[in-house]
Amino acid sequence: MPERKKPKLAVFKFSSCDGCQLTLLDCEDELLALVGEVRISYFLEATRKVEKGPYDVSLVEGSITTPHDIKAIREVRRMSKTLVSIGACATAGGIQALRNFGSVKEFIRKVYAHPEYIDTLTTSTAVSDHVSVDFELRGCPINKYQLLEVLNATLNGRRPNIPRHSQCMECKANGVVCRMVAAGEPCLGPVTQAGCGTLCPGVNRACYGCFGPMETPNTASLAAALAAQGRSRDEIQRLFRSFNANSDAFRKEGDSHG
């Protein structure tokens, strides 16, 4: 019996820590089912076997930080039927987008013995700032169930069930007590998209905002509430400037507390 033609899956990496693509390998129980449905054609972290494009589904991790990245991401787009960017780096520029708020020249001079070898852009930006993206999967790192859901939906030709509402709704559904209201902690949950599985509030820690801005983030109102808690402008700016510092909403809010 000839093998059914399976869709080809590719995983690409740009500037990132590899945590998001590792999430795919982390799908231990589901991995066998996954390779039963797709053909892993390009995934350097998992296999040296490389197949040429085009690919049916490409997962792209990492942000665009060098002139070479810009060329490479265009090539990836050209070879991919469906392109899904995964993680805070690929969807917002990641923690390395903190460079966007400082002087890259200065950083390079301080960090590298031979700054002349370094060829980099002055910004770290999202994949969607350079090519069109079919779906952006948030998180630092992404959540494995959400990743499976996106793959699953893509393979089955339906829309992924990835809510864009606040982290608060997930906290409440999970019966987790609000860190902001009950402990007075500075929490980004109300302006952050749900999806992590309530990792931090679930262990009594306010949300850091790994999943980036929710659909309608009222960051100004949250910042005012944080100020009323006694947080300084600097603290508030730092809260917004982390993994998703360069997402539109968080960047603007952070900038306004300079």
Partner: protein, 377 residues
């Protein structure tokens, strides 16, 4: 002191041991007992094994956007006002699988849901909370489209209500006519008076049956005086009032300037709807496995504060925070009456306490009421 006979329904005194016996009796009868516990800096309703699980000597302080657990100077077991969330999550779980299906030829075969849930016994519902359960029972008891799951869980549940002996600054059940006295919806009602002693009364036959088996004593005149004082304090101590005339009229004010004002503060986070014991909106999600051969349909709590919630073919109809807040408060306080015959708010104040920015339903109504003075009769 010799025990009293509770079978005639007369109020009796139940002490700490008696309460322990009550919990044990419910467990022996096969109930999963759910009651207050202290966890993560708040009172939450969770499974209770015995009386030691109850939050002795703990109270709560609430304000708009602020909740703090406090040590009390006494050792009362129900010295807090309300748990962080109500009983909704037990009667109406945040995620429910409606059905599973397997592909069969060109169609699919629906698989039966298996597994009986143990009946629950609720230890501690307050008057406002029972009023909320009654409101949701009406919503889910629609003649044409009842929710069998909700109805079955509620019918099986045994309710040991605990009346309030004090109120919080965010409470306003008195202005909604839903409390603080417990008048219906209970099998047993308790009121804690000093020293972990309770006035106990049956509200149903099964309540009477269970009470009869416990060691009870007759209330003294001093006990009854304390009961009356506690009821009075719970009424007098409420920190909020809702202007019900203005509340009912909200549906005639879609263009009120206050909506812009509140929209500037509202985070659209949905906390208010999640903690509200009467909010019932859900979304339905279909999921498939990777092969596409197996599908499930899930019902999940949703909120009128999410954009997706108002998605109708072609787009969302409530794209602005202003229209989402207006929808919530107008439905809750005004159009709910057209739909279900009463206000949708029971005055528990949870939406005030658990709003991260302290938006206060009573204050929003008061602000609108202030603009009506003089312009309307």
């Amino acid at each position: 002191m010799p025990g009293v006979d509770a079978s005639n329904g007369a109020p009796a005194i139940l002490d700490k041991d008696g309460l322990g016996q009550l919990i044990a009796a419910l467990r022996t009868k096969g109930y999963r007992v759910v009651g207050p516990r202290s966890a993560d800096g708040a009172i939450v309703y969770d499974d209770i094994d015995d009386i030691e699980d109850l939050p002795a000597g703990l109270g709560d302080e609430t304000e708009g956007g602020r909740y703090r657990l406090r040590k009390r100077t006494d050792d009362v077991l129900f010295g807090y006002t309300l748990g962080a969330q109500g009983w909704k999550r037990f009667l109406y779980p945040p995620r429910q699988r409606l059905f599973a299906a397997r592909r069969q030829g060109a169609g699919f075969q629906v698989e039966a849901e298996e597994g009986e849930e143990a009946p629950m016994a609720f230890l501690g519902p307050r008057a406002c909370e029972l009023a909320a359960v009654a409101l949701q029972a009406r919503v889910f008891g629609d003649k044409t489209f009842p929710d069998p799951g909700y109805q079955a869980r509620l019918a099986a549940a045994f309710v040991v209500a605990v009346e309030c002996g004090a109120a919080a600054s965010t409470c306003f059940c008195a202005s909604m006519g839903t409390g603080p006295e417990v008048t219906s919806g209970h099998d047993i009602r308790l009121l804690e008076i000093k020293g972990q002693r309770f006035l106990a009364e049956a509200g149903s036959d099964r309540g009477r049956e269970i009470l009869t088996g416990l060691s009870l004593s007759a209330p003294t005149a001093a006990d009854l005086k304390m009961v009356a004082a506690a009821r009075k304090a719970a009424r007098a101590g409420q920190g909020r009032v809702l202007d019900r005339d203005t509340a009912a009229a909200l549906q005639s004010m879609p263009d009120h300037p206050r909506w812009d004002d509140v929209a500037a503060r509202c985070l659209s986070c949905g906390n208010c709807t999640m903690v509200c014991p009467t909010c019932f909106c859900t979304t339905v999600e279909d999921v498939t496995d990777l092969s596409g051969d197996h599908a499930e349909r899930w019902r999940k709590w949703d909120s009128c504060f999410s954009v997706e919630f108002s998605y109708i073919h072609g787009g969302a109809v409530r794209t602005e925070a202003k229209s989402r807040y207006r929808q919530w408060i107008t439905h809750k306080l005004s159009t709910w009456a057209d739909q279900f015959g009463s206000s949708g708010c029971v005055g528990c104040g949870r939406c005030i306490t658990w709003c991260p920015v302290g938006i206060d339903i009573t204050a929003e109504v008061a602000a609108i009421a202030a603009t009506r003075k003089g312009t309307q009769g």
